[in-house]
Structure formats: C-alpha cells, structure tokens
Amino acid sequence: MRLVAENLAGGRGGEILFSGLNFALSGTEALMITGPNGAGKSTLLRIIAGLLEKTEGHIRLDGAPAGFENVDAACHYLGHLNAMKPVLTVEENLRFWQLFHGIAHITVAEALERVQLGDIGHLPFAYLSTGQKRRASIARLLISYRPVWLLDEPTAGLDKTSEEQFAGLMRDHLKGGGIVIAATHLPLGLDNPQELVMGGNGHVRTRRWEARS
C-alpha cells in the first residue's frame, strides 16, 4: 500500500497556503507535519481527508486493501474536536462510532483498556478531563480498522504516560502495515518518521525527523 500525493496545492478562502507538495508513504511509514501556527497543517490534513477541496494535484492510495480504494474511506481522522456527544456515555459514543464506521477491530472495552480508561466507560463524555477526552477519541481509532490515520495534534492535553502509550499504539498500527500522518508541535515518539516542514509562507520541505530539544 502506498499513499501518494502529487503536486498538491491547497488554501483557505481563495488564498493558496501551500503548493507543489509531493510525498509518498508506504505502509509502516509515518509522516509528521510541522511548522508554525497558521502554516496550513490542519488544512493539509483536511484536504487529505477529503473534507476540503484541493486547489490542485492528486492524492491516491495505490495497492490499497480491499474496501479501502477510496482515500476518504481508508482514513481515520482525529481532528481538534473529539466528535463525541457530551450527554452520551463514553461507551455509547464509542459503540456508535464502531457501528457506524464498521470493520470492527477490537471491542470497545478492550480499546478503553488500551487507553487506560477501562473503568470510566460508563461516565457521560462531558464528565471527563481534557486528557481523558482525548484518550477516548484515540480509542475511536482502535475500534474500527482503517489503514491510514490522520491525526491533528493528537497529543494535545495528554500527560507524559499517555503520550508514551499513544506512541506505542501508533507504532503498533505502523507495524501492522498502517500509515500515520500527524500534524504536531511536539515530538511524537516515533522511530524514524518522515517530516514535512510547512514554512508559513508557502514553502514546504521534507526531511527525516531528528530528535529536537
């Protein structure tokens, strides 16, 4: 499986934020998108997810597993918002997304266990702390299978332990042949991701991630 973006350009409100973007990720590879605030990281992720029109270029998934030929359908998108209803319990929320997304992977209880929310599933989502909310949303990625994960600042609000656990989850996903694309300001603890630095003035450059201070 290969996710290929060719000559991608995107913008907001009629104005181009980046253009001529190329990258190719095969299964087990991760891409980190970094850059200053307002550079267009979230915009790029939303374009890959098919939530925004691209101004130019192509994205395609080569050799995708059956059922995931379409890029949108192959992606899990974890945005800034958690996509959970505050009045429903965590379990109700997750069970809904599992049924809705289909292709169940692990059970809701198991997923909650993995994000250390095992005994909190019965609480209304509104009752969770910020980090717990984020972890519950991360559980959403686990309960239905999708080969590509699109993550927008996934670790915002997580404590150190959860951050490491989440890195573990991402590594598992990569090991299983998945792809991870994450926009972030913080190191994510991945082994050797590609990095895409968005300059905030249309400049884009790709490099290998090196541990930063």
Binding site: L51, L52, N70, G79, L81, L88, E92, R95, H101
Partner: protein, 221 residues
C-alpha cells in the same frame, strides 16, 4: 445506519426539549384561538384542522436549525461526511431527519386527536387531520433539512433556516389542510389532495436528502 438513528433519537429524548415544545405549541393554539373565534363552537371545529396544521408546521421548525449544527460543533459532521463512501451522505441525512421527526414531530401527531377534541372537531375530521399530519409532516422535516444544511456554515442559522424553508413548505400545508377538509365537507375531495400530499412527501424524501447532502459536502471547511 440504525446506530445513527438510535444515537440521534437518544440525544433528542435525553437533551432536547423538542418534543415538549411541539406540544406547547398545540397548547398555545388551543388556549388562544378560541378567543378570536369566540364562543362559536362550529367555527372552531371548522378551523381546527388548519390550526393543527399550522401548529405542527411551526413546531417542526423549532430545533430543526440545529439538525446539523450540533454535529458540526463537536466535529461529528466531519466524520459523517467522510463516511460518504460507505453510506451515501444523502442516506445519512435521511436517517437524521427520521430521528428528528420521531423525537420532535411524532409526539405531536400522536397528541393531535386529543387536541382535535378540544377544538370540537368531528371524529372524521380528527382522523383525517391526524392522518394527513402523519403523512405530511415528514415532508416539512425534509425540506427543513435542506435549509439546515445550507445554514450549517453559519454559526447560528436559526431564523434564516425558517425563513428559507417557510415559503417552500406552503404547498405541503395547502394540500394537507385541503385533504383534511375533504374528509369532512362534502364537495371537497379527500383522495386527490391526500395522494398529492403523499407524492410531495415521497418527492422530498428523495430530493431533500440529496440537496442537503450536496450542501453539506460543500460546506465542510
């Protein structure tokens, strides 16, 4: 899809006052219209179906503006739109409309026979009105869904949604009311307008979700 329906009805019942407000409207009409009509019970019975229809129309509007807005605010809408490969987005819209109708309009249809009694309507008129409401109100919800989808890009579309859709709901009202009268008054036909009403509902069952889905697709940003 069943899961979406269940979630939305559950939300509607747990959090929203939609159901209640619909019935409040009926109460308001019953409390207020007799003042205008005076003690003339016959007249009251005559305008009963029209009043029930107007009440139902207005009650359906309430809360309709949040049909997609709520999902957009918490990010669910993105995921619903992204899933359009698996489920046609129009189907998702249809299911959401169905859930909205079940939680906020159906109670009102169920309550309408009781209100008919208060309005001194004949049994046949009560039956006909309830039937036309049952058949016609889904069309209003579906038309409203288009308005709600158009306004979802607005942070608080409220009034605008109602304004856009009210003129479009007028045909539903006309045929609903005339079918209800057709069942009671002799010269007026019942079957013809009733069939038209069904046709309108079926038409919007197809067109409404498609249009709303198109609007939602282009609104995501």
């Amino acid at each position: 899809m069943l899961s979406l329906f269940l979630r939305d009805t559950r939300l509607g019942l747990r959090a929203g006052g939609g159901m209640l407000v619909g019935i409040l409207f009926f109460l308001a009409i019953i409390a207020v219209v007799p003042f205008g009509v005076g003690p003339d019970l016959k007249l009251l019975g005559r305008i009963g179906p029209a009043m029930l229809w107007i009440g139902a129309l207005l009650a359906t509007l309430l809360g309709l503006d949040r049909l997609f807005q709520a999902d957009r605010d918490d990010g669910s809408l993105d995921l619903l739109v992204m899933a359009s490969e698996r489920y046609m987005l129009a189907l998702t819209v249809l299911v959401k409309c169905l859930a909205h109708w079940t939680t906020s309009v159906l109670p009102l249809v169920v309550a309408s026979p009781l209100l008919g009694l208060f309005m001194n309507m004949q049994p046949s008129a009560i039956g006909a009105t309830t039937l036309t409401l049952l058949v016609g109100t889904p069309a209003i919800t579906l038309i409203g869904a288009v308005g709600a989808a158009v306004a979802v890009a607005l942070p608080r579309g409220g009034l605008l949604v109602s304004v856009i859709i009210l003129p479009l709901t007028i045909p539903v009202l006309i045929f609903g009311v005339s079918a209800a009268y057709g069942a009671v008054e002799d010269p007026a036909p019942f079957v013809a307008p009733f069939l038209i009403l069904i046709a309108i509902t079926l038409f919007f069952t197809v067109i409404g979700p498609l249009a709303a889905a198109a609007a939602l697709k282009s609104s995501a940003d």
